[in-house]
């Protein structure tokens, strides 16, 4: 029972396949029973990977319990049944950490699904970190003006040429390096640093693919921090561009922003667009639920 085109099936399943690959797979599935069965069963289970509305809170609880169990104890509990007895501590930790996590986990998932388009090498990253330390900046908007005029490294994609004005030998972080640094800060929970780096990326490399993608990540962080209007502007900015990779995530964030702003008609239209365009996305269930509530 060979899985003769398994690699093609996985590419399609992950959304990494080109249109010609899809056509090739469709043609193959019509004549190969084994691959057809594999494809059908894979599809059956993919439907169960959808996110639920309360997942972010649940993950926050899991994280708080894990921290409480492992950071505070030399010998961690072996089973969850013991851990549950420590629930008050976990709940307290959760409350302290706040419910602001919101859809943070979902946003992170988006970054997990779509890696940076041009991940920098370790050397490039090291250069960018060294540069950051050397200039004392964290990517904040108040960075020294000289940084904006330093020569860019060669690996900066699609960024406008900038004149060299400073004598510094350290290269400016590339768009991909900045994007990676911002993502790392976000993953480590350094939300302010992450937001500052995303903003720097957008200011310095406004036309780069990384700046475009960063709008979704920054939008999520802004939404969680209560800056709803700014978040909406970020999501709108992404959707106005040509990139399609994070459209479901951008629509999800935009819908939540509109919900908080009380713009019900626009919110309903947004969810309708998500459901009709991406019916299999992880956010479709949430969108349908909101549509029902809005009726």
């Amino acid at each position: 029972m060979n899985d003769c085109r398994g690699e093609l099936l996985e590419r399609v399943r992950r959304g990494l396949a080109a249109e010609r690959d899809r056509l090739a797979l469709d043609a193959h599935l019509r004549c190969c029973e084994v691959c057809r069965l594999t494809s059908e069963i894979a599809g059956d289970f993919d439907a169960e990977g959808e996110a639920a509305p309360n997942d972010a809170e649940l993950v926050t609880r899991l994280a708080a319990r894990a921290r409480a169990a492992y950071a505070a104890q030399a010998a961690p509990p072996r089973r969850f049944t013991r851990l549950r007895r420590a629930a008050p501590l976990a709940i307290a930790a959760m409350v302290l950490s706040g419910l602001a996590a919101g859809a943070f986990a979902l946003q992170q998932r988006a970054a997990e699904i779509v890696p940076p388009p041009d991940a920098p090498s370790e050397a490039a990253e090291a250069r960018s970190v060294a540069q950051e330390r050397a200039t004392g900046t964290s990517g904040r908007g108040d960075a020294p003006a000289v940084e904006d005029t330093e020569p860019l490294p060669q690996d900066v994609p699609a960024s406008p040429p900038q004149p060299a004005a400073g004598p510094s030998e350290a290269p400016l972080p590339s768009a991909s390096a900045l994007y990676k640094l911002a993502n790392e800060a976000r993953r480590q929970g350094n939300r302010k640093t992450a937001m500052a780096r995303y903003r720097t990326l957008q200011r310095r490399f406004p036309g780069s693919p990384e700046a475009t993608l960063s709008r979704v990540s920054l939008g999520g962080l802004l939404l969680d921090s209560g800056a709803t209007a700014d978040a909406l502007a970020q999501f709108d900015g992404y959707l106005a561009g040509g990139d399609r990779r994070l459209v479901p995530e951008a629509l999800f964030g935009r819908g939540r922003a509109l919900e908080r702003l009380g713009r019900r008609a626009e919110e309903a239209h947004n969810w309708q667009r998500l459901v009709s365009t991406y019916p299999r996305s992880a956010y479709a269930t949430h969108a349908k639920r909101r549509l029902q509530e809005l009726q």
Partner: protein
Amino acid sequence: MAKPALKLVRPSPVGAAPDPLRALASRAAEGDGDAIHALVMELGAGMLRTVRKVLGAQHPDAEDVTQDAVMGFVGGLARFRGECTVAHFAHQVALKRALHARRHFTTRDRVGEVDADIEERGVARGGSPLDAAISRERRRIVRELLSRLPEPTAEALALHFMLGYTVEEIAAVSEISPNTVWSRLKLGKRALKEALSRDRRLAELLREKLS
């Protein structure tokens, strides 16, 4: 047909891109509370989805099993040797815990109840109620089979069908050769094909669809 060339998506460190979570995982392994928290925030949702795929989308024990998996994952970081990415490691732990939990459930009928939501989703996304019922039956058969198969075979099959791992990714997370993965998948798929062909309810539904 011949086996495909095993040249696709290889998890780090075999691949070129460094694992973005490796440094965070190292800190978490040393007991850094912030790192543990950040790591679970990053990977917890994926682990939860993995558990749901094995148990059923709204299984009442999904949170408990996921919590157990998270504890196993964090506790296992000290022994993690980097044969695969941290994310793959986390998902594998979640899958193993969920498979183990499923084998030990005494109230298996509870699993059946919670699939109704998935069926509704299937209908809502454009499939017919009959298609949704067929999909539900196939999931039930796969899950029952996973509980009966030898654990290594069940794990390979679940990683492939439920998480969409390639042969090489399964080999990396399980620390076995791709040929061994191929053998296990072959055995598992053969057993699955037999189970599907023997199931009366599914056969009736398929007949109904053809008629």
